[in-house]
């Protein structure tokens, strides 16, 4: 059984297979960073027959499924199941499904996949069960056995789908075109809290729309249309290409040797260069998140001048790191209110509206209240994002407010007037949108000229 865990409580799933009469070996991949979940999975995987892959990075479902499939087939298991972490089997449900897979495997030895049916729960919203809410529904790859024949015919999952969604649709499309049978067990054996992973994680939810849009775009580019999701009996999808990218020279199969770049530079997505480390390219929020993950080891206190899309990333990052303070300053009251309204009520979050023209009464040597406000507090910060008004003034003050190992992240840096930054700080990394800076002990003040 191959399970990818991100944030869902693994207990309901593992409890539901605990009393199985079958010998179950679990291949558990950890993609999330939650310390509590990690400890729980360690406890579970050491107590059962398992192989544990605690990556702690959102490396993509396809990547881990491919690795799990390879490992399972190498281990010579009788059947290999992909099972989502946000479902659990009813009493005896797992054994019923496993028995079905084994018997069907004998009846149709060349089967590609066998999917279960289950009750979809969670919500009826778009990030949820949708119209199948509280209805029995075909589970697709959420609970599915993958046969040897599928690997032989179409190979592995397409890692161009990242981090999740559409990789299963693509797999079914390739099986369909290759004439490999896909089977299903119509008994309702499990309950699936569909898309719970996304709903339960603010940061994932925030990035979900763009990530899904890009996957969707790639799917349409690959097949000429989207796939219908009604189930095996429902009308087929709108795909029109009979070959990937409508290119007869491209085969449906993705062999093991090609899983990292299945279709080459002509067709592979170019925005996934860093997907293995959990980042989508050509996206400012993802770029910021990636930089924070790389350079901000400690994130107890965060400050940002200028609220924007970045605020959600800063807040989500602060939440995952257990930060105690995120102070977000902006000079536009209504705009700041709108940004903050969209965020969860994190106890560490402080939003402050300060007019950009207001003068400070703090007695600080900087007389712009917008800039000087943090110095009033007597607090130092681990991460300071400069993305609003008075950027150079903010950067100057940031040097004083920065913890010794803290970083300043400067947005939209590529302008001649920001060149002096390089003299004030030590440049750690330049990305497309951001400059990551550390305090440079050698340069405490700017040059007089």
């Amino acid at each position: 059984m191959i399970v990818i865990s991100y944030n869902a409580d693994p207990e309901p799933l593992f409890n539901s297979i605990l009393l199985s009469k079958h010998h179950v070996r679990s291949y558990v991949f950890l993609h999330g960073q939650d310390a509590g979940l990690k400890a729980k999975l360690e406890a579970i995987t050491t107590a059962i027959d398992s192989r544990y892959f605690p990556y702690g990075i959102n490396r993509g479902v396809s990547r881990s499924w491919n690795e799990g499939l390879r490992a399972s087939f190498d281990d010579g298991n009788e059947a290999t199941l992909l099972v989502n972490d946000d479902l659990f089997f009813y009493g005896g449900g797992f054994d019923e499904f496993a028995g079905f897979v084994l018997s069907e495997g004998r009846r149709v030895p060349h089967f590609g996949t066998i999917s279960a049916f289950g009750l979809d729960t969670g919500t009826a919203g778009p990030v949820g069960a949708g119209k199948f809410y509280r209805r029995p529904h075909w589970q697709g790859s959420a609970c599915m056995a993958v046969g040897q024949r599928a690997i032989e015919a179409v190979g592995y999952f397409d890692q161009n789908f990242w981090p999740a969604y559409f990789e299963d649709a693509d797999y079914f499309r390739r099986l369909e075109l290759s004439g490999v049978p896909t089977l299903w067990d119509e008994r309702i054996l499990l309950e699936h809290n569909r898309s719970q992973t996304v709903r339960a994680d603010f940061l994932l939810k925030r990035l979900h729309d763009e990530r899904t849009r890009r996957n969707e775009q790639y799917y349409i580019r690959k097949w000429g249309g989207l796939r219908g999701w009604g189930g095996p009996d429902a009308p087929s999808g709108q795909e029109i290409f009979m070959h990937p990218f409508n290119d007869p020279s491209v085969a449906c199969a993705i062999p093991l040797a090609a899983i990292e770049a299945p279709y080459g530079p002509k067709h592979d997505r170019r925005d996934l260069a860093e997907s293995a480390s959990g980042m989508l390219g050509e996206s400012t929020p993802e770029e910021l998140l990636s930089l924070l993950n790389r350079h901000a080891g400690s994130a107890r206190r965060l400050l940002e001048w200028g609220a924007d899309d970045n605020t959600a990333i800063m807040a989500g990052f602060a939440h995952t790191r257990g930060a105690e303070l995120l102070l977000s300053i902006d000079h536009r009251a209504e705009y700041l209110r709108a940004v903050i309204e969209q965020l969860p009520r994190y106890a560490f979050l402080h939003a402050r509206f300060i007019d950009a023209e207001e003068l400070s009464e703090t007695g600080s040597d900087i007389d712009i209240a917008y800039v000087a406000y943090p110095s009033l507090l007597g607090i130092s910060f681990d991460i300071i994002l400069v993305a609003g008004r008075w950027r150079m003034e903010c950067a100057m003050l940031a040097r004083r407010l920065l913890e010794p190992d803290g970083v300043v992240v400067f947005h939209d840096w590529n302008h001649p007037r920001y060149q002096p930054l390089r003299e004030l700080f030590k440049v750690v990394e330049e990305s497309k949108e951001f400059l990551v800076l550390r305090g440079d002990p050698a340069n405490k003040s700017p040059r007089p000229d």
Partner: protein, 495 residues
């Protein structure tokens, strides 16, 4: 022709009888409807009459209060009363007093007494973090409100610096050291006139104090949080002994008059150090280091008056009294503190609910807490209390009905249903709330206009507030460490 047939048919004994009975029943029904309408109109008229009577009485009371306003305060008595202040709790990080700093919270009256139980842990955490003393002082009810702060003088006179805060304030984690923010030679306070209109109040105050130059609104401070030093002790003395006006001023006005009259240098604390939600849209603690519920409503109130029980000899009666925010403040304070601890909760206070007819209304308890009250009435199937029309995100929610303390479960026999979208969708049919006064609802999508509706039963009921708490999708984040360890041990044993 048709009439002829009808007349003929009526002559047939059985048909005629049936038809007459039907006509009689219809007439009776119409009479009943007309009677009901007359009763309703009479009830409306009575209610209007009663409201007029109450308004007259309120005006009379207001005039009486204005008259009382002009009576000089007996200051000698105040000095005696000040001595009645009692230290309820003192936390001193390093033991000694001299040369140190303290935060003092005066507690006067039952409302403050309830609120300090909710907010005290936050004051304690703050004082421990910035290493200052905390004193919670019981102030005698005989001390006039304008002298409460002055009455704290004996508790602060040995300190170099001190701050006085009201019990309905919540200090958030990470709040900077107030004494580092405010210069020692100035009195730190939030200048209220910058954020809300205080011009009229300043004009009136200037008149009462006979100021030649009226107090400018941009100098009018909120006195719920004051940061002071030893130099301001004389000002406290003056507040007690040499009032600026011979009129009896409210606590905040008296202090403002004194500050202006004495030309005391004031340091304008940024608003986030004393964030008062002047409008319901500002009810968001994320804007604040120190959140001050003050006399603000959580959301626009549905009711202007409440009913307070009284006794006249052996008989009891209810008197109508204006409903003010502090009657309903406790649930909001609990809500904020719970949210700051990481819970997704919403506490609904009585002023947010709607009341049907005379059989349901807001009562005040003996210690001035607002409660929803409804009697065993003849309303039949109509819920006498309903609301508050909340927009809730999809997911599982616990709904709990609580007593006025915000903790004790309400009567398990109370019958409640939950609907949304103007009652079009029923989430929970009418049923008793059960022994823990709590039940779970499942919202399959984000919903608008969620109502909790309470029904009449075989006895009168009261509810202090309604708690809605989201059941988190993932139990992992925020799980207490000790609980997590216990569960891990159990896991290892189980597998």
């Amino acid at each position: 022709m048709r009439d002829f047939v009808r007349r003929q048919l009526q002559r047939v004994p059985i048909i005629g009888k049936t038809r007459r009975a039907a006509e009689q029943a219809k007439a009776e029904h119409d009479r009943a409807l007309a009677e009901r309408d007359r009763a309703r109109a009479a009830e409306e008229a009575m209610r209007a009459e009663r409201d007029v009577a109450y308004e007259e009485r309120d005006r009379a009371l207001e005039e009486r209060d204005k008259a009382l306003f002009q009576i000089d305060v007996p200051y000698a008595q105040l000095e005696d009363a000040a001595a009645a202040g009692r230290v309820r709790m003192r936390i001193c990080p390093e033991g000694g007093l001299k040369g140190k700093r303290t935060l003092v919270i005066p507690v006067q009256g039952p409302i403050a007494n309830r609120e300090i139980h909710v907010t005290q842990p936050f004051f304690e955490a703050y004082c421990r973090r910035v290493d200052i003393d905390l004193q919670v002082i019981d102030v005698s009810p005989t001390v006039p409100p304008s002298c409460v702060k002055a009455s704290l003088r004996p508790m602060v006179e040995e300190y170099d610096r001190f701050a006085i805060a009201e019990p309905h304030m919540i200090v958030r984690q990470g709040c900077p050291d107030l004494f580092a923010v405010v210069p020692e030679d100035r009195l730190g306070a939030m200048i209220e006139g910058r954020w809300t209109d205080r011009r009229q109040r300043c004009v009136e105050l200037s008149g009462l104090c006979k100021f030649r130059t009226p107090l400018p609104a941009e100098r009018y401070v909120n006195t719920d949080l004051l940061v002071m030093s030893h130099a301001h002790l004389a000002m406290l003395d003056a507040l007690m002994q040499r009032p600026v006006s011979s009129y009896r001023l409210g606590a905040q006005d008296a202090l403002n008059a004194l500050l202006y009259h004495g030309d005391v240098p004031v340091y304008g604390l940024p608003r986030d150090f004393n964030w008062i939600p002047y409008s319901p849209s500002e009810f968001d603690w994320r804007w604040a280091w120190i959140f001050n519920m003050s006399d603000s409503w959580r959301s626009p109130p549905t009711q202007a008056y409440a009913w307070k029980p009284g006794r006249n000899g052996n008989s009891g009666y209810y008197s109508r009294t204006p409903l003010v925010p502090r009657h309903c403040r406790l649930p909001s304070l609990i809500e904020i503190t719970e949210q700051l601890r990481g819970s997704a909760v919403r506490f609904v206070n009585p002023a947010e609910m709607s009341y049907h007819g005379l059989s349901a209304r807001i009562h005040l308890t003996a210690d001035d807490a607002a409660v929803m009250w409804w009697g065993k009435s003849a309303l039949g199937k109509t819920p006498p209390i309903y609301g508050p029309y909340l927009d809730l995100p999809a997911g599982r929610w616990w709904v709990t009905l609580l007593a006025p303390d915000g903790v004790t479960p309400a009567d398990p026999g109370i019958i409640v249903d939950v609907v949304h979208d103007s009652g079009r969708n029923t989430v929970r049919p009418p049923a008793p709330i059960g022994p823990r006064a709590s039940f779970e609802i499942l919202l399959d999508r984000d919903v608008t206009g969620t109502e909790v509706r309470m029904y009449s039963g075989d006895r009168d009921h009261t509810v202090g507030c309604i708690l809605l708490k989201a059941s988190t999708d993932s139990p992992m984040p925020g799980e207490g460490s000790s609980a997590a360890c216990d569960r891990l041990d159990a896991l290892k044993n189980r597998y």
